[in-house]
């Protein structure tokens, strides 16, 4: 009887805590397209509205957290100087042109991704996942669990720069109840 009680308790422990059993990991991607960032005084904003993605709408109300994040695409450094690319986010829809305004009102979420002069590099998923910092990731999770609308900017870390992003993609793996 003791063993039966123990097995029952074990089963009960596994079933508790809400929706542990009835949950899954769902992939959502948002196309960022092609972007050229000519320099720190001519930033280019990209509004992300995840509500346009059906998979996100389907799971938004049961969203618990994010299992994975990635920014993907191919980046070309258009100058002969090396550049470290970062991605920043503002919680609202914005269109800053100046880097200083962005840094005053946004949060860095990703990077740096290094490119040598005139280099073109594809950002692979594993590398990209490792480039999210904790603060930025927390802010991004907050937005995805919130209204699902935010603005992304890609910038260089220092000096003058000019780079292009080809076929940019924002990918999130939602951890949600069924």
């Amino acid at each position: 009887m003791k063993m039966r009680s123990l097995l029952a308790a074990l089963a009960l422990a596994a079933m508790t805590s809400g929706c542990i059993l009835t949950s899954g990991q769902f992939l959502v991607s948002f196309e960022l397209g092609d972007v050229r960032v000519p320099g720190p005084t001519t930033l280019v904003s990209q509004v992300v509205d995840l509500n346009t993605i059906s998979e996100y709408r389907d799971h938004k109300s049961n969203l618990k957290t994010l299992a994975d994040l990635a920014l993907l695409g191919t980046i070309t450094n258009n100058t002969s100087n090396p550049v470290d690319v970062e991605v920043w986010m503002t919680k609202d829809q914005t269109s800053y042109l100046l880097e200083q305004d962005l840094k005053a009102n946004g949060v860095r979420i990703w990077g740096p991704f290094h490119l040598a002069g005139n280099e073109t590099k594809q950002v692979d998923w594993d590398t990209s996942a490792s480039l999210f910092d904790a603060t930025g990731k927390a802010a991004l999770i907050g937005e995805i669990k919130g209204d699902g609308v935010f603005t992304l900017y890609a910038i260089g870390t220092t000096g003058l720069y000019d780079f292009s992003i080809h076929d940019g993609q924002f990918v999130a793996v939602l951890d949600a109840a069924l």
Partner: protein, 185 residues
């Protein structure tokens, strides 16, 4: 980290039947197994192989416990975006735990079926992400075909790794061979 004391307590509780060993029939074996691990409702990882070892112990009538180690190498997730196929590293799943089942796992001629439950400490590792170290639970059904000291075991189980408010779940299908190391009736 919070779950570690709970896992230890439950593992100790499951091993309690070992204490009065001298008063009952004892059977201790060793088993190796391999098979496939299928992610359930996980869009960022794919099916992979699994293998491991178990130490089936039967001491009191109708109850057996089985410490085990299992490892799975899940295949990479794949997604084609903008005409480019991206891959995400599949998890390496390492698990130490114990199963408990009603019925004896002592090898004997014939076929037997045994449902079982288990609890374990699991580590999920993948490139580019922090490791997930959490409690996992097993629920399954096994079938054994015995030949004196050797038996062939097939099992189907649900392995559920608790991850905060949700979980990652795997359906594991394995085939194994066990051998009785020690038997005292």
């Amino acid at each position: 980290m919070r779950a570690a004391p709970r896992v230890r307590a439950l593992v100790l509780a499951l091993l309690l039947p070992l204490v009065p060993a001298t008063a009952h029939a004892v059977d201790i074996g060793i088993a190796a197994f391999g098979g496939t691990s299928i992610p359930i409702v996980q869009e960022d990882v794919k099916t992979g192989g699994t293998y491991g070892v178990r130490v089936p112990v039967s001491i009191i009538p109708l109850v057996s416990v089985e410490p085990f180690f299992a490892s799975s190498n899940l295949s990479d997730g794949e997604e084609t975006l903008g005409g480019v196929t991206y891959t995400r590293d599949g998890f390496q799943n390492s698990t130490f735990g114990v199963n408990a089942m009603l019925g004896s796992l002592a090898n004997a001629p014939g076929i037997k079926f045994y449902p079982y439950l288990g609890i374990a400490s699991t580590k999920l590792t993948r490139s580019g992400s922090d490791d997930i170290k959490e409690v996992s639970y097993n629920f399954g059904l096994g079938a054994g075909l015995g030949f004196k000291r050797v038996a062939l075991h097939g099992r189907a189980e649900l392995n559920m790794v608790k991850t905060d408010l949700t979980s990652r779940k795997f359906a594991n299908l394995t085939l194994g061979l066990s051998y009785d190391l020690f038997k005292k009736l």
